[in-house]
């Protein structure tokens, strides 16, 4: 097989493209620009850490099914871990979002990084909501019967029935986690490719 033929292979071209865009030193950097020195940067990695705990505790709850935690001390504790990791996740994510807003983090060709972060936020809200209506207790009854009016008014309730436990649970444990994880992965890869946004230029710098 000739070198030219190998170069034309889809696999070779994909590998070269990925290696060009995201070489190992960018994917797993061992240095970072000196301006990355603020507590605000902690909230991005905190969001990722909380997401990993949300997923881990959710997987443990999934092993014994959606009603296990009502009658088991261990199950209830795992549910509490799930709840509080979700609270930390959203707290960290929202601080991260505000931080990135005040840094103008879309600058320098980072528009897609901003957008994937926003969509991840929206998907996470939906994931949290479907979790609340899948608890199979009074909270899920009340929240779902109240929320139905909002989504029904848009016409969306005809397809996304918040009173249908089976549908909500499937969205909560399959579709939305896949979306949230995939979006988070894309977001992090974009951050690694583009790097952390530099500070705003001083007026004197712009003049030069």
């Amino acid at each position: 097989m000739s070198t030219t033929e190998i170069d034309r292979q889809w696999t070779t071209r994909l590998r070269k493209r990925v290696a060009g865009k995201l070489p190992p030193e960018k994917l797993l950097p061992d240095t970072q620009p000196a301006y990355v020195a603020s507590w605000i940067y902690v909230f991005g990695v905190t969001t990722l850490a909380a997401l990993s705990i949300v997923i881990a505790t959710g997987c443990i709850l999934a092993i014994r099914g959606p009603e296990w935690w009502h009658g088991s001390y261990i199950g209830h504790f795992v549910n509490s871990l799930h709840l509080w990791s979700v609270e930390i996740f959203f707290f960290a994510m929202i601080v991260h979002l505000w931080g990135k807003f005040f840094m103008g983090a879309w600058r320098g060709g980072r528009t897609m990084t901003w957008m994937t972060g926003c969509v991840t936020f929206f998907a996470s809200i939906l994931a949290g909501f479907t979790g609340y209506v899948s608890q199979t207790n009074f909270d899920s009854q009340w929240i779902s019967t109240q929320a139905k009016d909002g989504i029904n008014a848009t016409g969306g309730g005809a397809y996304f029935n918040v009173l249908n436990l089976g549908q909500m649970l499937m969205w909560h444990i399959v579709l939305l986690p896949i979306a949230a994880i995939a979006l988070t992965a894309i977001h992090v890869i974009l951050v690694r490719i583009k790097g952390v946004v530099p500070p705003y230029a001083e007026d004197s710098e712009i003049a030069q």
């Binding site: 950097p29 240095t31 620009p33 000196a34 301006y35 603020s38 605000i40 990695v45 905190t46 850490a49 990993s52 705990i53 935690w69 209830h76 504790f77 509490s80 709840l83 509080w84 609270e87 959203f90 929202i94 931080g99 005040f102 840094m103 103008g104 879309w106 600058r107 060709g109 980072r110 969509v119 809200i125 949290g128 909501f129 609340y132 207790n137 009074f138 009854q141 929240i143 019967t145 929320a147 009016d149 909002g150 029904n152 008014a153 848009t154 016409g155 005809a158 397809y159 029935n161 009173l163 249908n164 436990l165 089976g166 549908q167 649970l169 946004v197 530099p198 500070p199 230029a201 712009i206």
Partner: protein
């Protein structure tokens, strides 16, 4: 060839300064350990709420008159569900956003006929009830006008319903089979059989609780329980959860609009708030592309606090 002008809200200056050591794996590991410990501490000290689900059985035993009055509202078409419109039925136009009748255009996709689904079908599922069967036969064979007359006569007496010796007692009224139907439905509800009949309407296995939840939501009982738990719309509604827990605090902006004019008095509040939140969400998403909005962080200068070390040097 002229050099392209630098756009401070779009372009980022090239970093020509130094770099510092950064151990991304160590940082991630520390973050997971710290967040994990914080989660364990919060879960240990605060736990999580778990109020038992309300059933039609608990509702009808706690307040049989409210149950019977709700049942008659399902029969006479005045309950929230019976008069809802899309996606459940065609009884109402639903909300509209200006000229847009979104729900009505989508149509009935989750059909709910409160008379048949909440009253008649469950009653027909009861075995060995000759008196009930006779009354149901009378109901079924009657004309629509006759049914309406019976239901209206019963409805007039509904505010005077009492519950005595395990039965719904209604003042003397010319309501045909309706008193027997409502009383037997109340007995069925108090036994727990109605919960099952409402869920399993479509077959043996069921995960769709649309019908029992709609029936429960039509009652005053569920709303009273929610009010005691500070969960109603005027109490910042569905972002809360039972007990002293943060709930879905991230929904504060969505819930906020329901508390203020014009939404707090609007008959179309749901679709208006949803419309507003969609606009705001798209605005957030497209913020990097919107001149003026994308300049806000540069003008408010919070970034000078975030990067204070950089600007100091």
């Amino acid at each position: 060839m002229s050099k392209k002008a630098f756009r401070p809200d779009v372009d980022a200056p090239e970093w020509k300064g130094g770099h510092a050591p950064y151990d991304i794996i160590k940082e991630g590991t520390i973050a997971i350990v710290v967040v994990g410990l914080l989660t364990i501490i919060l879960a240990t000290f605060f736990g999580s709420p778990d109020e038992h689900a309300v059933t039609v059985r608990t509702w009808s035993n706690a307040d049989p008159v409210d149950f019977a009055q709700t049942a008659i509202s399902e029969l006479n078409g005045t309950s929230t569900t019976a008069s809802y419109g899309a996606p459940y039925n065609t009884a109402g136009d639903g909300q509209q956003l200006g000229p847009l009748k979104l729900a009505k255009w989508v149509g009935v996709r989750i059909p709910v006929n409160t008379v048949n689904d909440f009253i008649i079908k469950p009653l027909k599922s009861l075995p060995n009830e000759p008196t009930l069967d006779q009354n149901l036969a009378t109901w079924t064979s009657a004309s629509s006008a006759q049914q309406t007359t019976w239901v209206n006569n019963y409805s007039k007496a509904a505010s005077k319903l009492t519950f005595s010796n395990g039965h719904v007692v209604v003042p003397s009224t010319n309501a045909g089979p309706v008193p027997v139907m409502i009383d037997d439905l109340t007995q069925m509800a108090r036994s727990g059989a109605l919960d099952q009949a409402l869920v399993t309407g479509g077959g043996y296995y069921a995960t769709d609780y649309t019908k029992p939840l709609l029936f429960l939501a039509d009652s005053g009982y569920l709303a009273n329980l929610a009010d005691k738990q500070h969960l109603t719309g005027s109490q910042w509604g569905m972002m809360n959860e039972t007990g002293q827990y943060p709930g879905q605090a991230w929904l504060w902006l969505y819930t906020f609009w329901y508390q203020v004019a014009p939404f707090n008095t609007s008959a179309n509040a749901d679709v208006q708030v949803w419309g507003l939140m969609m606009v705001l969400s798209v605005g957030l998403l497209l913020l990097p592309l919107i001149p003026g909005l994308r300049a806000i962080p540069r003008k408010v200068k919070v970034y000078r606090i975030i990067w204070r070390e950089h600007y100091r040097s």
